[in-house]
Structures are given as structure tokens and as C-alpha cells.
């Protein structure tokens, strides 16, 4: 078991310790923004209602969504692409 545990830690540290932006939305085209927004609007009532009542974008400031979406991504293991769409939608309120 010790070996398994060590393997997990090792794998974690070795496999591309690069740091993937969790929710960065910079440098994308307006068309891409629009696509993400539309997808986010489609996902929000489904994903965000899975564990608790879906909380609307207007509840938090855009910078807070950058934090909270990371938290939700961890809890829900949400696919990264979907997270980018959701944060786009949430920030637009």
C-alpha cells in the first residue's frame, strides 16, 4: 500500500507539473466568447443544480467566480472545457 501511495504522489508530481489555467479566459476571440457563453448557459441549470440549487451569476463579482469555479471544478471534477464555458456564463451575469 505504501508503494501505491508513493506511486500516486510520484505520478502527480512527474506528470506535467505545468499548471493549467483553471478558468483563464484571456486572448480569445469574440466569437469564441459567444460560443462559451452559449454552452455555459446550457450547462448551468444542469451542472450547477447537481449538488445544490444553482446559484446565479449575479450573486458574485466576476473575480469571485474565478475562485469559486475552481472550487466547484474540484468538487465536481467538472471537465475543463465545460468549466471555461460556465465561468464565461456566470461572469456575464
Amino acid at each position: 500500500m505504501r508503494k501505491i501511495f508513493a506511486a500516486i504522489v510520484l505520478a502527480t508530481l512527474t506528470i506535467g507539473f505545468v499548471g493549467a489555467p483553471a478558468s483563464a479566459q484571456e486572448n480569445i476571440s469574440p466569437a469564441e466568447h459567444k460560443r462559451l457563453f452559449r454552452e455555459g448557459a446550457q450547462l448551468w441549470p444542469v451542472y450547477c443544480n447537481t449538488c445544490h440549487n444553482a446559484r446565479p451569476g449575479s450573486e458574485k463579482a466576476p473575480y469571485e467566480w474565478d475562485l469559486i469555479i475552481m472550487h466547484m471544478r474540484t468538487l465536481g471534477n467538472l471537465p475543463a472545457g465545460d468549466v471555461r464555458a460556465l465561468v464565461e456564463y456566470l461572469k456575464a451575469r
Binding site: 500500500m1 506528470i15 499548471g19 446550457q42 443544480n49 445544490h52 446559484r55 475562485l67 472550487h71 474540484t74
Partner: protein, 519 residues
Amino acid sequence: MPGRRIFSIFLLAFGLVALSLVGLARAADSDGSAADLKEIKSEMRQLREERKRDREVIHSLEIKVQQLETKDSKVETTTQQLHATDQKLKETTVELQQTNAQVQTLQTKVDAPIAASEFGDAISRYLGTHSFTVAGAAGGSFNYDQQSGALDGVSHVSQNSFFFDWEPMFLYRPTDWIMFEGVISTAFGSTGTGADLSTADFQIFLNDYMTVVAGLFDQPFGDWYESQSPMWVNRFVTAPLPFGAEAVVPGGEIGVQLRGGMQFGALGQDVDYTVWGGNGPNFSSNVLGAAVSSPTAVANSQTNGKSIGARFRIYPLPVDSQMGRLELGASTYNGKWANGNWFNSWGVDFNYFIGNLQARGEWMESYRQMPEGMGSDNRQGWYVQAGYFLNDLNVPGFPDKLNGYLHRFEPLVRYSGVNQRAVSTDDIAGATGVGQGGFQTGLVPDFGINGSPATYAPHAREVALALDYWITPSIVWQNEFDLELPQNGGAFVSPSGAVTPAGPIPNDRAFLSQFTIGF
């Protein structure tokens, strides 16, 4: 005007000369007959009259001329004014042209990429690159517990208590791929004010498929600890039995997780995994049925290694299918405790929601190897629950406002149960706060647990009915009625290891009312 007057005098003179010339001619023409004279006189009269008329005409002409002159001067003033205006317009145009040129220069400056980035920099400097926010929850409740029955000689005591719980959560994000989460639980419960660290971990987003979580965290086993336990998230005031007084799996762990998720089909069809390792499980004592407790704080209290856990979930329904969201999960958590004895557990769970209906349930089992041939300490736990939002209920004849209030209600029902071979009497005495010479020593009833001794039956069963009133998605007033329906079977074990079979255990009723805000 003198010119005109000269002209009229001249006209008059010319008339007289002409007249005298005619008179001369006539005089010369004849010798002056009376008839001729008469004719001349009448002609002179005519001429006088004509002259009078001419004067009148001249006078009226003079008046007209004067009028024309006034008009003319007016026109001249207007023309001058027009000229002035025109001049001003010309000047303004020049000024405008100059302004335009200035605006254009400014625009070129603004449009220049260097200026835009300068602006962005200014904003970033103002906000900082590190961001921080506080969330969490606060709740106050009143618990009434009938405690009609007692366990193992514990006296009958009613519990009527207020509780308050505040769990601030701090989220700190130094970069776009690292976050820290810390939750402090503070409560005023049956033992007075207390605070403890319930979660503190780093979340490091390695790539799209891997996130490392390191620190003190909720056990990722099943759905409840990690995603249902916060008080504004839980649809009920209390925890289902397998996560309350008689937990089947420890509620937290200190260690490292690796987790992530991905889409495997259409949008919404996802799979995800969580694997983790930590210090391992701990128990309140070495006797059968001893309660699981927080993670082992000191590594050397374990003789043989750490814990390891894994959890997988699948969401088979695409978002487009309009068939709702279904989650199916499976978990396992294994480790060694105290003297190198095994602890193994596994569980399955589901969660489904469509429209106003939400249902979830879990089933789990744990096996705890006991020292010195005591036989294993097996436990099973389960719950199923369903709730329905009255969003679309419109009672005919009710005013809109009343129907509006009705829409905020969510009635719920939950059935949960636990089977344990035994229960430690120490846990009961320490927890219920009754029977120990009359003073409160324990932790229960406390936030999320109704305090009924029947929840400590080896074969506890509970039906919980709840009516939630949702003010916003995270502000709720919850009312819950619990019916404890313990089954016969199992045993109570004293700290010295003495085993007493559990006889019939009285049913119990409890009512809880709680107001909660999720930040």
C-alpha cells in the same frame, strides 16, 4: 431728397414755359377773340388741375420712396448681420477643424496597443493578481427531541435547545492554477462555543484532467461528506444515519488527492475520478462498535501504512436529451488502524434530478478487523431521499401572491438506516449528554444531529420528513420531523468490553427548525 425736388421744380418750370409759348403763339395767331380767351382760361384751369394732381402723385411717390429707403436700410442691416454670422461660422469651422485634428491625434494615441496594455496594467495593479473571497455558511436551529426512550440505562431527558453554527470559508487564489480553501467550523452547541478546522487544502490544477488536492479535506467517499454536508446544501437539518452518530466511514482525511473529469460522449456525458491517500481511519476506542473519528493526527499511531481511497462517477445522460441529470458513483476507502488491523469499505450512490424532482441515495459497507480474535466489526448504512419543489403548483382560486409563496416550498422525505454489530456505550454517554450525573458532557444533540438516543441503536432506522422554504437558492428555512424506528438486534459494549444484547429500543420523535444562509 433734393434731387427729386429739383426734378419736380424743373417739371413745373417746363410746364409754365410750354404754356407761355402756347399763349404767345395764340396771341400772335389772332387778334384776341373772346372765344379764344375763354378757351385759354379753361386750358389754364385744366393745367392747374393737372399740376395739382401731379403734385399729389409726386407726394405719394415721395412717401413710397421714403418707405423703400427704410426697407432698404433694414435689408442692409440684415445683410451686415448675415455677413457677421457668416464670418463667425467660418471661424467656428476653423476651430472645429482644429479640434478634429486634436481628437484624431488622441484617438491614434488611444488606439495604439501600448496605451491599451498600459490601461490593463493599471487595472491589474489596482486589483492585484492574488484574489481572495470569503464564503461558507451560518445557521441557527431549534431542536426538540422527545427522548421517550433510553438506551442502556440512560435516563429519560427531553432536549429543547437552540444551536448556532457559523462556518466561514476562505478561498485564496494566488495564480490561475493554484487555490487554497480553508473552512473553520464554529458553533454554540451542547458543549458551548467551539471551533475547529474542518477543511484546509491546496488545490493545484495541473492540467485539464488532473487536479491535486493536498491537506485536510472531507472524505471523498460517496456523495454526502464532500458535496452534501454543508448546511445550506443539505436538504434536511440532520445528516442521514450513516453519516451521523454512527458513521460507517470516517468523515475526513488528511493527505493528498488526485482528481479530474472528462467528457466521454455528448455534452454532459462525463466520467470522473478521485484517488487519494492519507493518514488513515481512527476510532474512539478499541471496542466493537466504537465510533469512527477524525483522521489520525499522528502518523506513528499507525503501525502499518496509510489509507487509500478511490471514487468514480459517471453521468450517462447528455444535456441535450432533456432527460435530467443522473449520477452513478462507486467508492472505496481502505487503510489500517491502530495496531495494523484492516479497515475496508466500499459504497455505491446515485443522484438524479429532473425539473422539480430530485432524488439521491447511497449504500455503503465497512469492515473493521478487530484485535485478538474479537470477530470483525462490520457496518452497513444507507439512505434514500426525494424532494419536490412546488415551483409549478398553482392552486386555483388562490391569489397570485399566495401561489408565489407556495412555489418556494420543497417537501422532502428520507429513509436511512445503519446496521452495526455493536455500539459503544462510551460513545452514547459521551455524546447524548444525558445520564452522566445530570450534566452535559457530550456532543450530541448538536448541529446536524437530532439528539435522539435511538439513533445510537445498533440497528437504527429513521424516517425524516422535511418542509424547506427556499428564500433564495442558498437561504433556506427548514423544518424537519424525525421518526426513529430502531430495530431489535445487536449489542451494547462497555469500555471494558462487556457485551449486553440490545433489547427492544423505544421509538422516538424529534422536531427541528433551522434557518440557514449559504454565502
